[in-house]
Amino acid sequence: MEMLEFVVPALNVKAILPQVILSLTALTVLLVGVFSPQDKKTSSLGYLSLVGVVTALISTLMINGVRESAYNGMVLADGFSSFITLIICVVTILTILTSINYQKFFPRLNCGEYYCLLLFAAVGMCFMGSAGNLLMVFLALETMSISIYVLAGFKTDDAKSIESAMKYFLLGAFASGFLLFGFALIFGSTGTMDLVKISAFLTAHPEVIHSRMLMGGVALMTVGFGFKVAMFPFHMWTPDVYEGAPTSITGFMATGVKAAAFAALLRVFFVALGHLQADWTGIMWLFAFLTMTIGNVVALSQTNIKRMLAYSSIAHAGYLLIGFVAGSKLGQSAILFYLLSYAFTNLGAFGVIALLGRKEGEYTELEDFAGLGFKYPLMGLAMALFMFSMAGIPPASGFMGKFYLFSSAMKAGFVWLAIFGVINSVISLYYYLRVVVVMYFTEAGREVVMPKPSPALVVGLVLAAVGVLQMGIFPSYLLDMARQSIQTMLM
């Protein structure tokens, strides 16, 4: 048993540069928020945070290619973490652009705390992508989660929002307990929290691989992660939380949290627990199948668009698990590509929902969208594009993403999973098409008026649409980048 010793780590800013920038921005926004008078804030806080995230994004692209383990293996800076940071930055940028429009209807959201929490959540997400130690995974997860619990309940005058935050918090805390307990058992069986060292220990002591303690630890950990990615049967919180949370935050949860949780899942399972792959593949196969099927089938009967997208997000977690089951490098890079594509698509869709707002509440029933396709042609076009992308119809990015995921499954020999995957895509087509049907094929019922959108959100939607089309029509560059980042993952 080696003694725990305290070593002052070398300060390596390069490995955590994006996180540093995001944190500093968060603190600045908080201070500016406190010291600027209430009536003069307008959207300056949003733009200030935007500058910070864009800087973080640029720094990520600049340090892309760094490959090192920093802070005693706590942080692994490699292509993988860069790609995750890239996704998180895109998610955060689009969320901020949506929030700037959204706060016009809900001025309460326009304060330093909101953007500060958003940025800290992003910091946590980035660290989940680069954590090299179970403890770091947990810290990052909590940084992210606690910020989001608060954000979900940010509409303090709306009972649904409070309910959403309360539900998310209680269940989330419970899930964190599972995760931590799982970590403890893994530590107990291997004597280390370091992902790379766990793998080395298991190579040296193959008899531990099938010990009950380690298996129990992996199972509990799966529960914890499963909760965060909304995997069946840990998905029950999703619709209520997504429906109640402010729309700008719902998109953030659906894409950012999912990306971060999948990043940690991939890193922990493939770096530390690669030896157990044969054991978890079977159960994950089942989870993947059930997650996508339940998500899609229940989404069929939803009439609230936010709830529908919540179930659709469960289904997408199922698709992503297909890549996880495939387990190959191809499958992992497919997950990265899909996460980015899903970020553009889903945030675009939530951005469109955020366009329609008013002081008393939002229009989130499906029937509110009746006839809007021709009334607001550009908005309709954007929403149709995002829906077709989610359904996986070319030339939108969702097609390329699904093609990539399913082909990884086919290649790894999971033909049936791929077959269930495409059957699910057809089921999902029905409810995504229904949005198009409502927007274009039916006459307007209730008088829904779209207030003039702020330029920020317009830019955001254009970015999302360009992202969707770019990834669908010219996917080469990002495909190679995703592949590259898996190849350079530190093992």
Partner: protein, 528 residues
């Protein structure tokens, strides 16, 4: 390879997109300018596509006007396009029918004119792209892309039950095609395993030797996907709904080109990729084709609605095409190809005619008409020409196609040919009976007595079709000679490869799948 040293196929394929961009810049209130622009673009598009005929080399079976640019390099997906004797006339048919569709919608479409024209032009690009793609993924992208504008055409400008029809159309076709996608991916990895090359190019994949039992499943996925599109009995139920609800131009495009995508898919992809499985499926497909012929004809006979009648006659006609293709001999396949063009022209004309009378009377029920020939003589003439073409009277295009198919089918399966020939009699029966009830009989309904005959625009719309009926009826050689080299090579290749397969011993399915799929231990190695 490209005899023009100019990317003409890309120009033909994407020229309508250029039209879309222009349309988007025009104010949506100035509807006549929008209509005029759309007509101009589609007519220019037709003329741009004509060099394909003039520079087409009749002698070679190779792909012509080929363009090949890497698209997604890491996957080996290419922007690979080319034309041969199978696709040439279908491309021309598409560029020929689209301006007619735009013209026919001139007064029929009154709301959202701009969006309508944009949909039609997008649809044209998607259809052309699917016809000229030589890369399976590229083809799949265009194939799925066709769905969106057609779905909107039915759903926005359709009849009372448009939503049901549009969603059914989309779901049916998409459900069929996703399994084709899985098959494509499977082929891709199998090809890599055998040859070490990542490619989706069908010209390369044609050469693959696919284990027989796996071939069966792959072939089935392709067959189902294309059979839904054709549509073959019993997968045809979306078609009458879609046709009846769609606006006239939508029906014309649907019957004229979209359905041909199914038969084209059989000939281009399913049959040459899987010769052995195709051969095994032939009795089933021929039976379904014959059932389709008779069933379509019988159901058409009892339809009270003219449009539904024409829709069911499509099921019957496409049955002929499938019977010809699966006869797997020169006459059968060329007849099938010829009948695809005929069907596009004659059924296209019939849908236009039904649309014109509907615009005047706002009903399509046969019982609401009678004696129309007296008040609308020009209309009656065109209607007669289209009817005769559909019935396949000698001298019209329909005769050439049908007789070739029947000769081809008789050589391969005489009994089916005899049954199919009786379908031709049923065809004459329901078409002429409808013509009689609508055009002759006493002119006893007061609403029908003041009907105006066709105006100049409508005559311009129908005239090219009527002329083609006779040109194709009297000079079939003009069209068939361009198909000869390709079709005879197709048959030669198909038969050689079938013989090679027939020598192999079929193995059990489990063994075969295990042999094809990479084992799980070495999958990371395979990716490199």
């Amino acid at each position: 390879m490209n005899q023009l040293s100019f990317p003409i196929i890309s120009l033909v394929t994407f020229f309508p997109i250029f039209g879309v961009l222009i349309l988007l810049m025009i104010d949506k209130e100035s509807e006549d300018i929008l209509r005029g622009t759309a007509v101009a673009f589609t007519v220019i598009e037709f003329f741009i596509s004509l060099p394909l005929i003039f520079y087409f080399n009749n002698v070679t079976h190779n792909m012509q006007f080929v363009e090949l640019i890497p698209w997604v390099k890491s996957f080996g997906i290419n922007y690979h396009m080319g034309i041969d004797g199978i696709s040439l006339w279908l491309v021309i048919l598409t560029t020929f029918l689209t301006p007619i569709c735009v013209l026919s919608s001139w007064s029929y479409i009154q709301k959202y004119v701009k969006e309508y024209m944009v949909c039609l032009l997008l649809l044209e690009t998607a259809m052309l792209g699917a016809l000229v793609s030589l890369d399976l993924i590229l083809f799949y992208v265009f194939w799925e892309l066709m769905l969106i504008p057609m779905y909107l055409l039915i759903g926005v400008w359709g009849g009372p039950q448009k939503i049901y029809a549009a969603v059914k159309f989309f779901m049916y076709t998409a459900a069929g095609s996703v399994f084709m996608l899985l098959s494509i991916i499977f082929l891709y990895y199998y090809n890599y395993k055998v040859t070490g090359v990542y490619t989706f190019s069908i010209l390369e994949l044609y050469k693959l030797n696919i284990p027989i039992s796996v071939q069966f499943w792959l072939c089935l996925a392709f067959f189902v996907s294309f059979a839904i599109k054709v549509p073959m009995f019993p997968l045809h139920t979306w078609l009458p709904d879609a046709h009846v609800q769609a606006p006239t131009a939508g029906s014309v495009i649907l019957a004229g080109v979209l359905l041909k995508m199914g038969t084209y898919g059989f000939l281009r992809f399913a049959m040459p990729l899987f010769p052995y499985a195709t051969h095994q499926f032939t009795p089933v497909m021929a039976t379904l084709a014959v059932i389709g012929i008779i069933y379509g004809a019988l159901v058409a006979m009892v339809q009270p609605d003219m449009k539904k009648l024409v829709a069911y006659s499509s099921v019957s006609h496409l049955g002929y095409v499938m019977l010809g293709l699966f006869a797997l001999n020169m006459q059968g396949i060329e007849g099938g190809l010829y009948q695809m063009l005929n069907h596009g022209i004659s059924t296209g004309a019939l849908f236009l005619i039904v649309g014109m009378i509907y615009e005047r009377r706002h009903t399509r029920m046969i019982k609401d008409f009678g004696g129309i020939a007296k008040v609308m003589p020009v209309f009656a003439t065109f209607f007669m020409i289209a009817t005769l073409s559909s019935v396949a009277v000698p001298g019209t295009n329909g005769f050439v196609g049908e007789i070739m198919i029947l000769i081809g089918a008789f050589r391969s399966f005489p009994i089916f040919a005899v049954i199919a020939a009786s379908g031709a009699i049923l065809g004459a029966l329901y078409m002429l009976w409808m013509y009689q009830r609508v055009m002759f009989c006493p002119l006893d309904k007061p609403e029908n007595q003041k009907l105006k005959d066709l105006n100049v625009r409508e005559i311009v719309t129908l005239l090219p079709l009527a002329v083609l009926v006779f040109v194709m009826g009297f000079f079939p050689g003009l069209f068939l000679r361009k198909m000869d080299a390709t079709v005879s090579h197709f048959l030669k290749d198909f038969n050689t490869r079938y013989e090679a397969y027939a020598q192999q011993q079929p193995q059990s399915l489990g063994d075969r799948i295990a042999a094809v799929l990479p084992a799980s231990e070495n999958k990371d190695k395979i990716i490199e």
